[in-house]
Amino acid sequence: MVQEVNPQAESGEPRESHDEEWRKEFPYPWDEDEVVTRRDTLRFLLAGSGALFLATGVLAVLGALPRGSNVTSIPIAKEGELAENQWKVFNYPDEYAQGILINLPGHGLVAYSDVCTHLSCAVLYQGDGKMHCPCHDGLFDAATGNVLAGPPTRPLPLIQLARQNGIIYAVKEIAR
């Protein structure tokens, strides 16, 4: 069995060196010191590694749990309210989050979450088929929500729309 390391023996110096003059001038009370050995550090690191593995596993389990339905039908506009290339911002799915509804030529009404996937600034429609994030000049394609330029790496979440009795409803947000 490997023995615990004695801090005094660890230095590997000959015994007579304890009589050296500098030790007398600068005595150190080893017996009063609370020594953390290398093996203590090793055990601590091993326990930390296990704890991090467990925590990552818990996050994976949380991610795999079935989520509640995110279908919330909210009226956001009237049919014909927006002319081509016009846009409006609406609250969805609650008052703390917003989406952007655009009447895009050739595509009709499209809606996305207006929260930039880079650092959560609000994106604006430019009128040329592109959405612009003013914070860091991110550009998104208004037809697909995909990133065209800038620092964002993920597309904007899509908001599904439904029409009923001349009212446009935001139905569901689809994270991508």
Binding site: S11, L46, S49, F53, L59, A60
Partner: protein, 107 residues
């Protein structure tokens, strides 16, 4: 300080340092170091174990940070892979922490 004293002083960078020795030569060539089965060798092995485990722990910290970011971003596709990578790190840490001690005891 006389010349002789200065020469003797230069041999030791630190008064606590043990005198430098050449590694012993075994049947297959140079051995890992002087007294590698003794206290000094064991200290060196534990030192290396601590270093390797620290590197693994840093990698696992990065993995859990990424996992948390993915989870809070609403994406869970890569969470399983991140947990698996962290598990591999833990197994490696176990091997590094436990295996050399057995080898030393066998020798």
């Amino acid at each position: 300080m006389s010349t002789n004293n200065a020469r003797a002083y230069r041999r030791k960078a630190n008064p606590d340092d043990p005198p430098v020795q050449r590694p012993p030569r075994g049947s297959r060539g140079l051995m890992p170091g002087p007294n590698f089965l003794g206290l000094q060798g064991r200290i060196a092995i534990v030192q290396a174990q601590v270093f390797l485990l620290a590197v693994i722990l840093i990698a696992q910290l990065w993995l859990i940070t990424d996992a948390l970011y993915e989870l809070l971003s609403g994406r869970s596709a890569s969470l399983g892979w991140l947990a698996l990578a962290s598990g591999i790190g833990f197994v490696l840490a176990l091997i590094i922490a436990l295996w050399p001690r057995r080898r030393i005891e066998e020798m």
